[in-house]
Amino acid sequence: MDIEVTESGQSAAPHTVGRRALLGVGAGGAALSLLPFLRGHAAAAADPAPPKKPTTDDVALLGEAQQLELTAVALYDVAIGAGGWSDTEATAMVFMREAHEAYAQALSGLLGRAAPGQRSEKLFKALQASFTGSPADMLESAALLESSAVATHTEVLAALESIDGSKLVASIFINEARFSTVLADLAGMTDTSDLLVDTEQPSLVGQG
């Protein structure tokens, strides 16, 4: 069937539009209307969103992060058990010990059965000696440990792919950064560069 189209003016000469042409126009219109959608997918293909759940590589990294947190819990236990703390110091040390335990539990929740669930014995033995002595010495050691934790988690974050894993790790070590300032203040440090940790301690990745 042909459809006759009548126009006025210069292009008044009648012409016909065939079925094929009509279908072509329709297909073209459909393609144009889908363009934004298709363009969005093309952009997504070029720059895909990171996975939500931890990948296999993420699991290993997050497991290492959990071991660090459990090692920190054990080290704080050693320090708290040594005694000699003022009320303020004891409150802060207990708070931080419980915070590290909460971080380990949160990582467990993310990793499920893949979570190591135990501290790094090697790291614990390497750091245990520094968590004895006077409260000021132990506070300084704890401040250095928190700085190492920040460096470690920064390195872990750089390698993580998943959104859930990176979100959790970020919420952990941004607070550990605050811990190092608090512990430095409690230890009696007054130099701003010490309180703000101008020089971060080395990362502990691979040392567990």
Partner: protein
């Protein structure tokens, strides 16, 4: 001559009623028509189309531009605070605070350098650099706060004028704490928002430093305020107390107490927070109510979209 027997005040008959009604209606129509004005003659045609909003593209470049603007706003705010000299003045609220000008001066390059770095990354991501402050943060929060603290608020039809702040030093140092916390929270919030995973560490490098600066300034304001206390936590968790709007207006009655300003702590929670940061400051109004602002991490109404520019 014929005379009728009808009295002068005879009742109106049906015919008379119709006649009177018709005359009244006609008079009303004529009266209504008399004052009408002739409007323009209707036209046929097509006007300009309804303007459409630009598409709200949110990509890594937009997020980086936004963070560059936020850090610039913070650096600009500190410059304003330092220029005002408020930090060098003594504070009635915090008598032991001391002059924190040097510390805040130390914070400025951290934020301006962060803005430069975020802009470099934005350009690398294919976006234009955002060289000015975040418009939303400036107009709805920081500028408003400076105005209230420094100049108060003029009287309106329903409220009396509010004087400038009763303690500008207190308000400015609390603002520094709020802005450091905002920088830390915003950087943390970006970790889950960006698609390029290499940007996460860039944001957190800034966020970690801001978090420490936030903790340090909290300790300057509130020495020994390391942690959120159990009492404060319980008060926060408890339901709100019943309030009243009754004001004692009798002669000699005490003025209503001003809104309490909470003291900051170095570690406000166990995990890094993304919740709004409440700033309370300025002088209280006639009811004692101070300015209260909730600073939030960047969201849809504060992003630096591609169709926006600092020149606009």
């Amino acid at each position: 001559m014929n005379q009728t027997n009808l009295p002068f005040s005879s009742p109106i008959g049906r015919r008379g009623l119709f006649r009177a009604g018709g005359i009244t209606a006609t008079a009303l129509v004529l009266a209504a028509c008399g004052k009408s004005e002739v409007g323009p003659v209707g036209r046929v045609g097509q006007g300009a189309p309804t303007p459409e909003l630009e598409p709200e593209v949110i990509n890594d470049g937009v997020l980086l531009r936004t963070m560059a603007g936020l850090e610039t706003s913070i650096a600009n705010a500190y410059a304003h605070i330092l220029e005002s000299g408020a930090l060098a003045a003594s504070s009635a609220t915090f008598p032991d605070l001391g002059d924190q000008s040097d510390l805040v001066t130390l914070f400025v390059p951290h934020h301006s350098n962060a803005a430069v770095r975020f802009n470099e990354l934005a350009v690398a991501a294919g976006s234009e650099a955002w060289e000015c402050g975040n418009e939303r943060l400036d107009s709805a929060f920081i500028d408003m706060l400076f105005e209230r603290v420094e100049n108060g608020a003029p009287a309106t039809d329903v409220a009396l004028a509010i004087e400038p702040s009763d303690d500008a030093t207190r308000d400015m140092i609390n603002l520094v704490h709020t802005l450091e916390s905002l920088s830390a929270e915003s950087c943390q919030a970006m970790v889950q928002a960006v698609t390029d995973i290499t940007l996460r560490s860039e944001f957190m490098a800034v966020g970690v430093r801001s978090a420490r600066q936030s903790a340090l300034i909290a300790l300057k304001i509130n020495p020994g305020g390391y942690l959120i206390s159990a009492a404060t936590q319980a008060a926060n968790d408890a339901p709100a107390e019943e309030t009243t709007t009754t004001v004692d207006e009798s002669e000699g009655a005490a003025a209503p107490p001003s809104t309490e300003i909470p003291l900051p702590v170095a570690v406000p929670s166990q995990f890094g927070l993304l919740s709004p940061l409440v700033f309370i400051g300025g002088r209280g109004d006639e009811n004692g109510v101070r300015l209260k602002l909730s600073f939030e991490t960047p969201s849809l109404n504060s992003l630096a979209y591609p169709f926006e520019s600092c020149d606009a």
